[in-house]
Amino acid sequence: MPGQRWYTPYLFALPALALFGVFFVWPAVTAIQLSFMKYDVVSPPAFVGLDNFVRLLGDEKFWTATLNSVLFLIGLFPLLVVLPLLLAVLVNQKLPGIRTFRMLYYLPVVTSMVAVAVAWEYVFNQQGVLNWILTGAGLLDQPIQYLLDPFWALPALIVVEGWKSMGFYMMIYLAGLQTIDTSLYEAARVDGATAWDRLRRITVPLMIPYIAVAFTMEMLDAMQAFTSVYVMTRGGPQDATLTLGYYIWSAGFEHYEMGYASAIGLVLWVVMIALAILNHRLTRGKS
């Protein structure tokens, strides 16, 4: 290209590359090194080989956190992969005012997780609206203190996380739905197909690539759940809501075991990449 010096493109990219090096590459290398070390911030790091990983295998808390993260992943699936598709079909209709409904469903996405967590503490209160609805409908005999109950605390957090992000996933699906040729639906309607038939035979098959994207994002989101745990339960009661994300934070910043926390982080990282690849393999064949 005339007038362009060879280094011009690199100068443009320089700020981004510098940030990439300092805040991504350097920490990633540090994380890998630290996972083979013992480091409490005060005394210098000491090489301990595979000790952190061996310890991890026998650490009951780590397995509890892993199980809870997997439960998060399973629990969020209907809330973030299935329901948003139905919501998207609903708000894809041509009705006056439909944009307002889209906006309202998206509202929790733009508010902070902290505010959302606080708002839900009011919903979950023993004398709160959820207990009122469930006892009124005869589904509960006694009001429950959801966030203090070892059984209910995790499902409660899953509901909060799912509720907050549902609008985001709905918009992913909506973008997909708007690429579908409406004449397909017209034809199906002429053939007497019900709404359920149309969903099952037209919408879902054509949406497979979007479902794959949603599923991958859902897995990454679920494996990282942290803020809701931090604000609402701090991992309790009795580790019932201890997730991997929270355990890493707690090991690093409450117990100052930076090496051990890094080892957990590394495992989580590998698991997430494996899940993403697995999902890619599974869905590629179908689409």
Binding site: F23, A28, T30, F101, Y106, L107, A115, W132, S262, L266
Partner: protein, 271 residues
């Protein structure tokens, strides 16, 4: 057809209540006078009469104005900087030919697969080594690289008609001028989308400031609310009022700009 529509609106409104309801409960709790119960069977939602006592209480229970100002500072520093960094990097990736172009693009995209929680500790250690722990810069700098921003702008720049760029080049413009006077104006809608997304994400930022900051005087508002929630003895009405104030700016911006936000998401998904 008519009755079907009415049924549809009932359904849409019921679902809307599920999404807005918790915020309405929060709003109602923050406005209730002290002699009206916050929790009751059946729920007693309408404040009689609405009072601003708890807003005032929240305003002084924590250094609220300070936290709001901090959030404004973080937004003011981070949003323009991240948009500029993204645009500068996206321009050569989209329009110039050079060695390592694909490698750079792939490297930037790979950051999407570095989960925040995993990077928390090593990034904190790096920031500490740079002497940036507990500083505004320590909060700001690591947040300026956005794979999403670079990705979206690269697509936008690639779509700018070649004729316009060639015309500028034959007029003797060097690349920086083309970037500034041709590319950036052409990408205005995408820049707006990135600015709005940036505002929302910086205003809501929580985990990273929590890790970097020791001094609570530098807290952004979301961290301030968590701090207020953690103070034992904070009245549920005060907490509700404080939380409502904290989300007003972001909700207002979203409502005004909702078309851009939802369009932006569509653009990102299609890419």
């Amino acid at each position: 057809m008519r009755t079907r529509n009415i049924g549809m609106y009932v359904l849409l409104t019921t679902i809307a209540l599920v999404f807005v309801g918790p915020f309405l409960i929060l709003l109602s709790s923050g406005l209730k006078p002290s002699d009206q119960a916050v929790f009751a069977f059946p729920p007693d939602i309408i404040p009689r009469p609405p009072v601003l006592d708890w807003v005032k209480e929240a305003w002084t229970a924590i250094p609220f104005p300070r936290y709001l100002l901090n959030s404004v500072i973080y937004v003011g520093a981070m949003v323009p900087a991240y948009v500029l960094v993204s645009a500068l990097c996206a321009y050569p990736l989209a329009r110039l030919r050079f060695r390592g172009r694909n490698l750079i693009f792939l490297a930037i995209l790979s950051t999407m697969f570095l989960p925040g929680e995993v990077m928390l500790i090593p990034r904190f250690l790096v920031v500490s080594q740079l002497g940036l722990a507990d500083t505004y810069a320590g909060v700001i700098l690591p947040g300026l690289l956005s794979a999403f921003g670079i990705f979206l702008l690269r697509q936008t720049f690639a779509g700018v008609p070649r004729e316009i760029v060639d015309a500028a080049r034959t007029d003797g413009c060097h690349e920086l001028r083309i970037f500034w006077h041709v590319m950036l104006p052409a990408a205005r809608p995408t820049l707006a989308i990135l600015a709005i997304f940036g505002f929302i994400s910086v205003w809501n930022s929580f985990i990273w400031p929590l890790v970097v900051l020791k001094d609570s005087a530098k807290y952004p508002i979301a961290l301030g609310i968590a701090y207020l929630a953690g103070i034992t003895g904070t009245d549920v009405r005060t907490l509700a009022a404080g939380t409502i104030i904290s989300i007003i700016p972001v909700v207002v911006v979203f409502m005004l700009m909702q078309r851009h936000v939802l369009e932006g998401m569509r653009g990102a998904v299609k890419g």
